[in-house]
Symmetry: C2
Subunit: 658 residues, 2 copies
């Protein structure tokens, strides 16, 4: 049997010899050194061993679908040592590669047997695809198959006998060496092609978008990385993920406030601004793209790269963000019937929207479903993939609007609930964003009404500190929900949300003889010099929000024809910080077991990243956006009834201590 | 039989009634008025007559390939009057158009019978193609099938029940009403689409490039024209043809000097400038594009249009011009092996090269064949179409370089001869461009040596004027050739080009006792105060030029395997102004009968115009550029022998008086 011993250049050279499969020459024969590029893996193998077997022994990933029979033709490699270091091409190879392919040094790994020291280059197209792993390891993997790929290509130097033009020479090389056909050039690439070819001594790398457009040609020796950026543009926050398109690795993550808040906290205010200000659309676009440029520059600097290394961008956002970031006329978006300019995916040059990355950098924006179910929701869908499951999933992505998806492989429904900003801490007297000083967790002892709370930036509960160490400034969204859940459980509020007039507590504040507000943090525990309370008005805001959400859920369940979902996924910052027990306690969710509820973090960002790293996910997104049926709640005959019913509190859920 | 009487809105309404074919209802029945848009043709027809028959009677062109059987589905029209004005849709129509098509008012003209007054719109796609006629009427016609077409489309107003996004609504309308699928948007069109749809009240026109990209959407009521520009960029002259893309008409023609002459008269000087000046490439590109912008502005003003009405541009030029106008790196073009950056056709936005036309305006540049056989030559080939003929054509396009094509439908050869500038009046002592003051025609009486000549800007021969009325400044290219031809015929020069020492004439000027120059215009006939002569050095320049050309012709004939061509086409300004008799007299052409020689004017400009007005001609050009075999004269073993042989004068040709 032939044997291989491996050297991984990144580890100790004295590693274990690897037994390998593959055809067997006579034992006791000569051994030769085999080096695989670009991985640099090297090992020795017995004369007569085929390259595919050697590669497997060394852990070099080469595609092969036929088990080495020479029928799948996927294991193309390029020999970089003398042709005589391998056995002569077989008939199978002659048919598969043609005279041109063989002349260019192409071989099939399964057919070529080593007869000398061999150096082999494994083209991108022949490498087995790597998997992109979700941040929460093991949760989900996506094959690395980005829209922008790099193809190394070696060309013959032009002569008087073969003065083929540079463009046609490159196209022919890419066809012979990588099987790419029908490629076109980005025009600026054509303009500088002659210098790129000659400065690179005809040993080049072509960077290609969707196997359709050549967006850059550079010397093979050029060490600059090829990067992509996934961006989730929220109404309030922008998150950007810088990824290496050749490895799938997330290099760095950056986030910042969406500077459009200066033009209005909510979407309606911003759409209003555009209508009433000449050039307002371009102003809002410039504002958000300026911040994306900033985030990209920061991320690139952290990764020791440059923004000109970015060749592909995927962006998601709700429908209004989608229009504002693309600079699409929003004239029809703010009035019934809330028609978007375009629902399908948008592909354009990143420079067309003001992104200052590589000249050939592409931008892909995921499709929207309808006026109020945006590209961010589509991103959540392709991240959670309900359409690949038998379980009927309820997916909640809650911010200023609540976006809901219910479904499985059979069918998917979506809707949008006007939850208002209560979940985000707005329209609440002491509401604030989840920033230092915000009360984020609350516990009320149902018997003693003893109050415990946590403040962002302060370690532990208030009961572990002196009052003046707490310095609370307000309550964030999760704090409001916990407050309401705990107040309901402790009967501080009644089922209908009114304050309990029979309650005896020095925390209750009365106005006109009626109980109106309940003190969460006493004056000495706040930075305000007065107590932080949750009052009847705050509870009403929350009731409206959770009723809208719950009514939406119930309508979707009814339309789908099931009573309860088999699983609930809470996406977004909201889902990460809100405890599922309190969410159940205030009746935001259907009456289900808490253990079927999971939080998945920024699923929209995950979806954007998957679409950046896998072209198929973009096609899935386009399909899912069309496939998902949008349910308009405003015109649903059952909505009002469900809405009123969902207004009440039924604190049956058991909230565990922690 | 049903009858039709027609009213052409552009002519006398009382024109002849037209007998018509088509199915026959009972005689004596009612007649109705039928109006066809956009032609506005109107006539009356008997109830029950089908629309296709009515259209034929009125001279309205509607496509039909199946003779009205309803199988070809080409005769789609849109009814603009009440649906009840036509017979109910047949099964054939239901199958061909679908429910959506019928809902949009689409019908098949052959299936629809009139039962009331009818108003019908004939979409562009259903109109029989018009023919573009070459300037010299009757010579050649090209069907009007431009890359940029206009499609009228009527859309339903969005409602809460159907809030389909604007882009998808338009795409669906274009599919149902015109059968267009797979369309994409130019990104800026998407940005303003919502306003375009609503400002146009959903009665729109889409302007579409190559049935692939929507480049503009505007109100159907918008009266602005849709124009195209064909441009022939010569080393010395730029010619621009402004055409209406909806009619094929040439609206106006403009020409100007190529302002790049400031950087060098010939190509080598300009390529040299680029190499030695940082930013020189961009400077030369800006210079030539500035002039094209000027020409377009002038042409548009003459046609009462605007440059923003221009949606498509086709440009041709020799390979160096091609690179300089596109801003392609010329680094490899000036040195062996003279490799172009790209040989194939180039498609890009006109704005990418600095043309300031419509935002969505496209630029198509015809392919080049090799380093010295350019897109202008390809344009000449698609104008002359040797590949559609049995006759073996020799096509000469002569400027600073002579470009030759020889071939027919079997095979095409091309080459480029370094003729030098003698044919253009340069490198000749009194040489000048064909401008006022230039001697352009010359006759010498072989017996008396009496001299007659014509000067550009002066009516008639010099013999009809007083000497001081002539004011000659120099001799242009055609004058040089006529001078040489006449001097050879009158034996002023010998076969080898030397001056005849035995000639007795006071026009001969001697230097060192040897005859060196022959006076064409005496001092008193010139504006120079001294005689204008043609001397031995001038004759040598011409000999080198014509020998290079003739040797090229002979090599091509030999390679092709014929002794003589069946026809000779002289293209370009040269071909227009040089008499074929003198061309034969000095041996520029093979020894053929003068009557097979034709001059075709600016065939490169014609080819550019055909490519502008017919997409198929672009495909033909791409095919012809690849199909034509380039013959490299420098490495041909027979070239030197042919070159030396062609140096002599054999003035056998009979030059007729005129």
């Amino acid at each position: 049997m032939g044997g291989t011993s491996m050297t991984d250049p990144t580890t100790d050279p004295a590693t274990d010899p690897v037994v390998q499969t593959g055809a067997a020459p006579a034992s006791g024969g000569a051994t030769f050194t085999v080096t695989f590029q670009p991985s640099g893996r090297r090992g020795s193998a017995a004369a007569g061993t085929d390259l595919l077997s050697v590669s497997r022994g060394l852990g070099v990933e080469i595609e092969s679908a036929c088990g080495g029979k020479g029928t799948c033709k996927k294991c193309r490699v390029r020999i970089e040592s003398a042709p005589e270091s391998l056995s002569p091409p077989t008939d199978v190879e002659r048919n598969a590669l043609g005279a041109e392919g063989l002349a260019a040094g192409m071989r099939l790994a399964c057919q070529s047997r080593i007869v000398g020291d061999v150096k082999v280059f494994v083209p991108e197209t022949s490498r087995r695809t790597r998997q992109v792993v979700r941040k929460e390891a093991g949760k989900r993997t996506v094959p690395l198959a980005p829209a922008v790929k790099t193809y190394p290509v070696k060309l013959e130097v032009p002569t008087m006998r073969d003065a083929t033009a540079d463009a046609e020479r490159l196209l022919s090389g890419l066809e012979v060496q990588h099987g790419l056909t029908g490629l076109e050039f980005d025009f600026p690439v054509l303009q500088t092609l002659p210098s790129a070819c000659r400065d690179g001594s005809w040993d080049l790398v072509a960077i290609v978008w969707e196997d359709r457009k050549i967006v850059e040609v550079r010397a093979a020796a050029d060490a600059r990385p090829v990067l992509g950026l996934a961006v989730d543009v929220g109404t309030t926050t922008i998150a950007a993920y810088l990824c290496d398109l050749t490895t799938g690795a997330i290099l760095t993550t950056e986030s910042a406030m969406n500077p459009q808040v200066a033009f209005g906290d909510d979407l309606i205010a911003r759409l209003h601004y555009v209508i009433h200000h000449e050039g307002g659309l371009q102003e809002l676009q410039r504002t958000v793209m300026g911040e994306v440029n900033n985030l990209a520059a920061k991320a690139a600097a952290t990764a020791s790269a440059a923004v000109t290394d970015i060749f592909d961008v995927v962006m998601v956002g709700n429908t209004a963000m989608h229009h504002l970031l693309l600079g699409l006329d929003t004239r029809a978006l703010g009035v019934a019937p809330f028609t978007p300019a375009i629902a399908g995916p948008v592909d354009t040059l990143a420079s067309a929207v003001g992104l200052t990355f590589n000249l050939g950098c592409r931008l892909h924006v995921l499709p929207v479903e309808a006026g109020f179910v945006g590209a961010d929701n589509v991103a959540v869908i392709i991240a959670e993939e309900p359409y690949k499951q038998d379980k009927v999933l309820l997916i909640l992505d809650i911010g200023t609007n609540g976006e809901l998806v219910l479904g499985n492989r059979e069918r998917m429904l979506s809707t949008s609930c006007a939850t208002g900003p209560a979940f985000e801490g707005s329209h609440v007297e002491f509401g604030m964003r989840a920033a230092p000083g915000a009360i984020e967790r609350i516990r009320i002892d149902p018997k003693t009404l003893e109050m415990r709370f946590k403040v962002i930036g302060v370690e532990g509960w208030n009961t572990e500190h002196r009052p003046e160490e707490m310095g609370a400034c307000g309550i964030c969204g999760s704090g409001i929900i916990e407050a309401a859940g705990e107040m309901a459980k402790a009967k501080v509020i009644l089922e209908n949300g009114n304050m309990n007039p029979d309650l005896q507590s020095d925390r209750m504040i009365y106005e006109d003889g009626k109980p109106r507000k309940f003190v969460i943090a006493r004056a000495e525990e706040t930075a305000l010099g007065r107590p932080i309370t949750v009052g009847i008005k705050d509870i009403r805001s929350l009731q409206l929000a959770k009723a809208a959400l719950r009514a939406g859920e119930e309508i979707l369940l009814r339309r789908y024809g099931v009573e309860k979902p088999d699983g609930v996924v809470m996406a977004g910052a909201f889902g990460t910080y809100i405890g599922k027990h309190h969410a159940l306690a205030i009746g935001m969710l259907p009456e289900i077991e808490p253990d079927i509820v999971t939080s998945v973090g920024n699923a929209a960002g995950d979806g954007a990243r998957y679409a950046l790293l896998n072209l198929e996910k973009r096609r899935e997104a386009a399909w899912a956006a069309r496939k998902t049926e949008f349910v308009e709640l405003a015109t649903d005959p059952d909505f009002l009834e469900e809405y009123v019913r969902a207004m009440n509190f039924h604190p049956e859920a058991d909230i565990p201590e922690d």
